[in-house]
Assembly symmetry: C2
Homo-oligomer: 361 residues x 2
């Protein structure tokens, strides 16, 4: 088992990465000191792992609730179900919410924990690669609004993240690939040698090779932990974690949540960010091809849907990174290094959007 | 104009108390630096004061939304309308939400600001006495759940509180009295000489005497500011502000939100807390009579509805102040001093609840 730490003073917490952690009583007892626990899961993950987790929590008062499975249920209406479950189970301020599932479960359980009685503890037990490398770490929680992704939420750090690599064996191949998009992101924004490692191990990762997955999760969490510790509330460097996300959010919102997986939209968005970086004279054409090739080998989409450039720009303008009316984009000065910029010719962005999203819907 | 400060480091802010502040461009420009503003009000207060406030915000991009009027609308469903309004007005992370109205408007606008894009600025412009002396100060925001009051919310401090005493001239008499319940509360928990001042000025306050109201608002805010600065997140002394609230929440929840005004339920609850303090041998019978007499002169209810002791206890057990299964109550060792305690004979509480709420529903 690897143990990393997120260094946030009295809100710091451990990230545990290993196999068989899900029902390890000692691991769970240390991570969940509360006596009263509500486990939030979904109808896909619950049947696979809920019983094991509950057995590992022996001695506590445990209730559970299962959400429907999918990004389209990440709404205020479904969040209300979690509040209903907390009230029905008579959970008080000293209770703990445990999220067992992927990013949607973690985001919703964390947001419910942030708001219930104005804040109770929560613990992440991510069971998808995407959640293990990204969404479970860093304290961003929330739900979607028809007007944009994650528009409603809170910063609420977990008390611990328990990433059991064993749960990835039941992950559908499409979701594994979507999770690898975020792994590739870390290489692109912060670590060129990790990018090279991923290129050398794509096949092993897709074949669920245990030690390759463990390294990918651990290194991704290390890189994310460093960035989050520097900038918990995204006033600065943390925004780099959104490489491809502004373009990607436009894809997700325009096509309806659930049609494209988040990681798929991010993959197409990262290629757009790389291409736009080339148009600004930062990356070379061979760099962009290298990104495209890696995404293709991973089985990820590299082509945005034809939603039209003007609709795409409108959706991007709702993104949280807009400041003073200007869309700020995460761009790549070189592979392994990223920067946030709103300082580019608007007509260059328009031209890129027309090429990627089409001229009209 | 009086200017107080809440001392919370980089989350500190001013409380301005005076007449004609609502449309004072200089006051508003200092309090609301944002360019984009969403004013949240309700259908009662909006027609009276929205135009004046908007004129005072000249030069900014201002949108507004009016909620229905009443505690029964302080729900997640109505909160969603505020998110819809923020999205429709294309508000970004640098926008500011301004709450124009009473406690319900302030709690909901503040919670929406806490969650929208994971947190935008907000400013309180309270127009009821209750909101001016209590709910607008201290950063507690949220909505009710059928299972309990304010069960869903966030701590989110405003950037400024602008209390225009002039707005109290349009306040219905019943709401004025309900606000005075909280003013009396400050005397009871923290300042015996202020309690004496209130006893000497009840008639002036009920007659809307300007300088009496200004003193009451200012002194109440001073006392609250001290307590909040010491204990922003209610781990300790801040709980004293809930004198009468645990009993009162049971009344509000059992009778349905909106039937009893919050201040009315708090009044009846404070008398119960005083009576229970007497049963514990802390207050004398004359102290309790003094509290009863002041509440009666103010025109506030001193008798709880007959919801039954067991239902009352059940509702009190959902209160956020429960720790390790024990209902902690704010009690009065003497008038002008309060303490929180869960350390009392359970049968003594049962007997008091039977007397106040009746044996059965």
């Amino acid at each position: 088992m690897h143990r990393l730490s997120i260094d946030l003073g009295n809100r710091g917490y451990p990230i545990l990465v290993g196999r068989g952690l899900l029902d390890d009583p000692a691991v769970l007892a240390a991570a969940v000191p509360a006596r009263d626990v509500l486990v939030v899961t979904n109808v896909t993950v619950g049947p696979l792992y809920l019983d094991r987790l509950v057995r590992g929590l022996a001695g506590k008062r445990v209730a559970s609730v299962a959400l429907p499975d999918g990004e389209q249920y990440k709404t205020l209406a479904h969040l209300e179900r979690l509040f209903d479950a907390l009230v029905a189970a008579r959970m008080n301020r000293d209770a703990c919410v445990v999220a067992l599932g992927g990013g949607v479960v973690g985001d919703m359980a964390g947001f419910a924990a942030a708001c219930y009685q104005r804040g109770v503890d929560f613990v992440q037990v991510p069971t998808t690669l995407l959640a293990q490398v990204d969404s479970s770490v860093g304290g961003k929680t929330g739900v979607n609004h028809p007007g944009g992704k994650n528009l409603i939420g809170a910063f609420h750090q977990p008390r611990a993240v328990i990433s059991d690599i064993g749960t990835l064996s039941t992950l559908p191949a499409r979701e594994l690939r979507a999770g690898l998009a975020e792994v590739i992101k870390y290489g692109l924004i912060a670590d060129a040698s990790f990018l090279g490692w991923i290129e050398a191990h794509v096949e092993a990762l897709l074949a669920l090779d245990g030690s390759a997955l463990e390294h990918a999760v651990r290194r991704s969490c290390e890189l994310k932990a460093e960035i989050v510790a520097e900038d918990e509330r995204e006033h600065g460097r943390r925004a780099l974690l959104n490489l491809g996300h502004t373009f990607g959010h436009a894809i997700e919102t325009a096509t309806g949540y659930g049609e494209w997986l988040h990681g798929e939209a991010v993959a197409a968005g990262m290629l757009m960010a790389a291409d736009f970086s080339r148009r600004l004279g930062w990356l070379g054409a061979t760099d962009v091809e290298r990104v495209r090739r890696l995404l293709e080998r991973t089985g990820l989409p590299t082509r945005a849907p034809a939603i039209g450039a003007s609709r795409a720009l409108e959706l991007m303008a709702m993104d949280k990174k807009v400041q003073a009316g200007r869309v700020r984009l995460v761009l790549l000065p070189r592979l392994g290094e990223a920067t946030v910029s709103g300082d580019y010719p608007a007509e260059l962005l328009s031209a890129a959007l027309v090429e990627h999203f089409g001229a009209a819907a």
